[in-house]
Symmetry: D2
Subunit: 132 residues, 4 copies
């Protein structure tokens, strides 16, 4: 793998996430990606609840997902990410692999902006935590 991930989180498929085709519904992947970003922020010492307490709201403004391998009951993925700052956007590259393998399950690019007190921010509060 070519990738310089800065965080990895194991996520086990839960059966209620399956749809009637027996595979994880496409919307659920966005939950996996969000949960991974939030866990990353916790690890970096700036949890979501603290952001909210400071009046900072991270908002997703664009998402791209390539779905490669359907997930089924019993599957576990390693959810990995890296993050870059482009202008005012924090751009997360987020990939899911079947646990302990090189099998790419899904590949996403998620762009997030920070709203501070109702206005678009340059994300200064995030930088020391996320871009170490």
């Amino acid at each position: 793998m070519t990738d310089n991930y800065v965080f990895s989180l194991p996520i086990a498929v839960r059966d209620y996430e399956l749809d009637s085709e027996g595979i994880v519904n496409n919307a659920v992947y966005l939950h996996y990606f969000e949960h991974t970003r939030h866990a990353f922020c916790v690890e970096r010492g700036f949890p979501f609840a603290q952001m909210a307490a400071e009046g900072i709201i991270p908002v997703v403004n664009r998402i791209e997902v390539d779905y490669r391998v359907p997930l089924r009951s019993g599957d576990v993925v390693d959810s990995k990410l890296r993050v870059d700052l482009r202008g005012v956007r924090f751009v997360f590259s987020q990939d899911l692999y079947l646990s302990g393998t090189d099998t790419l399950v899904a590949k996403a690019v998620v762009s997030v902006v920070a709203i501070e007190n109702g206005r678009l921010s340059r994300g200064e509060r995030f930088k020391p935590y996320l871009l170490q």
Copy 2:
């Protein structure tokens, strides 16, 4: 508006779809988009349950979403779509507008392939219904 939509469905925000910021969670939009595609297939006479009965499974293989205006409690959107066939992929352009206005809430491109009896299909069964 410049767009040649072939289907429109009103969708009212449900309060359980809001996250702790009081806006509709980004993953919920994928539910809106899917629900719209399925309603479109029903209108065209080829409902999802019939596809399943025939062993045809539509699978999302790529999605892009631009989020423009956050949705809040009480909002209603007009969920519009058009569809093109590109190779084996049905490409849905799906846009949400605040109900009865030109305010674009979100803009998506969703690529779907058909799996028939476990194999990638050219979507012949869908064409007469979706590409009228």
Copy 3:
């Protein structure tokens, strides 16, 4: 039917609500019930967003559900309710019927208390709206 419902809302099953058995997941019914209560409050002139703006938070403290008939793709239910005040609890009786029939799909009793400014309230603000 013997019941003095004060509100009814049609709800169509959405395919993403189905689980891998092809029936609506048991947790989704709680979404249907909540959505119905909120729509009822809107009709009565006291929407959820206004409650929040006034610092009033309705909190579910007990729920009982009997599941009678599984819901499948394409089904539509009439979601009906009535409400009584018992002490500090608003007790909603909420029943789902297959649309336009007497077929009972699910039967629930949902008990809700009002938290005002962080403290349990006697629900005085709700009474004029909900108990007409």
Copy 4:
């Protein structure tokens, strides 16, 4: 604690499970309970996917939940259960505690029946696994 639980699973709150009041939505608890039951069946050697493969579908027919303490961002619960057979019903007593404490978060009784090849079963296939 007086209780003879036979299984316990730690579950961390995910931020997308919060509603606009900043607490975990009441429907999400049913996901926690289901996920716990399924993890229990995996531990006992009879995973949900195998049930499906054998034509056995466990169906929830009644649920009661008492919600005691709201869950917030960052919370982790120990999700515990025991199970009894009453007639044809497997009755799960499922309690959530704040992780590592005696603080009861929610208390549920979930009744499940087994459908085998479309007919109500006495659950003979489950007994050797669940009622050890």
